[in-house]
Subunit: 123 residues, 4 copies
Amino acid sequence: MIFIDYSDKRPIYEQIADRFQGLILTGVLKADEKLPSVRALAVDLAINPNTIQRAFTQLEKEGFIYSVKGIGNFVQANESLKQKQKEKLLEKFENHVELCMKQGITKEELIKHIKKVAEEAEE
Amino acid sequence: MIFIDYSDKRPIYEQIADRFQGLILTGVLKADEKLPSVRALAVDLAINPNTIQRAFTQLEKEGFIYSVKGIGNFVQANESLKQKQKEKLLEKFENHVELCMKQGITKEELIKHIKKVAEEAEE
Amino acid sequence: MIFIDYSDKRPIYEQIADRFQGLILTGVLKADEKLPSVRALAVDLAINPNTIQRAFTQLEKEGFIYSVKGIGNFVQANESLKQKQKEKLLEKFENHVELCMKQGITKEELIKHIKKVAEEAEE
Amino acid sequence: MIFIDYSDKRPIYEQIADRFQGLILTGVLKADEKLPSVRALAVDLAINPNTIQRAFTQLEKEGFIYSVKGIGNFVQANESLKQKQKEKLLEKFENHVELCMKQGITKEELIKHIKKVAEEAEE
DNA sequence: GTGGTCTAGACCACG
DNA sequence: GTGGTCTAGACCACC
């Protein structure tokens, strides 16, 4: 369910947080579902519990999960989060498109690549 | 011509290198044009000359500039670089598109945003 | 009558104690009225009986209820409690006012907000 | 400038973050001013550098400071933050007022206490 | 020297 | 057992 890429330059806790965020936003983890415990995950991934804890703390502050002392961490049921997330993605997308155009890539070319990705995804 | 964003998380030398890379790829800096000297830039930006040197070293390694000892650093005339750069951008673009689709954004929506950016750029 | 907010950071026993305290102070629970039994509440809220017991113990220590072994827990009839409670609230209120003023909020502004709340409550 | 209250139940890192937040919002620390270094503060307060770091990380995430690797942490110049902070305070204030009224405290009484605090502050 | 990340080990409150 | 906090000590990238 979760894995660490040590060749990735981003800190481990961020990788973990991002991974869970993805699982939540894509609906793999449903609302109020329990996440694995800090210690269990730490053993599983062979890393320090503190690092997991840090990931969870960040997820909680961002509103993706809520934690109950002595019980565990659970998925936060918040539909508006998905909307915000989508807006963020689109903003990043626009920035990227702008960058591409500055380098002389036409919009037709970009659209071609979108269709290519879409087809590959369908398969 | 060059500026530093201290609130940016990326290291300063990378910001500088990226900035020059952009100026070269967009044609603002032409082939064989002389870049500002390390010392002059260091004074100008009020940062350590080592940092500038590091940026230039990276640019040279990536093939954007060539340095002549005792004289200065110059823009590398290499058309194929632009091609490589374009491919890198498009690869990043495809990854982002894939991410967007995983979050349920349709390709029509993406295309709509491309057109929006294109129009804003024309103005 | 009682409910638990798991997204609340405060411990469960404290939430329960506070809730009963409110019910007593507002007069919903009258003097010498019997509180629900520890076991019944535990089943009802689907939590550990120890947690309920802890809430009741605290309430008893603070003088809001008295317990009769083998019979149950009852509301303490003590008018002076309300007075003490009021003083506590006002002390907290003054601290908050002080904080607001340190941040440059004028007393006129605060009074305006009080009137606003008062009007909303009348409706 | 900063002190720790060990009898306070809140975690140390939160106390420190709150204290700095206050100093920034009240204007004691001006925009772009350098905060004490993580290590220096740790020695000064006789606590672990990690704890300070945590406080700073939180302050940065909340937008009160920005950090530059290898240089230090600096006060973020953001006027809109003060506004947001004020709104938060007033919301908390209204909640408290509502609570007071539920316990039978009149608005006249509350206003009287505001004036009392205001007078004490003037002295 | 400075911030940022990680590990190891410990203690506490809660349920 | 579970999350939350703290300490001690280490290593890294950056300037």
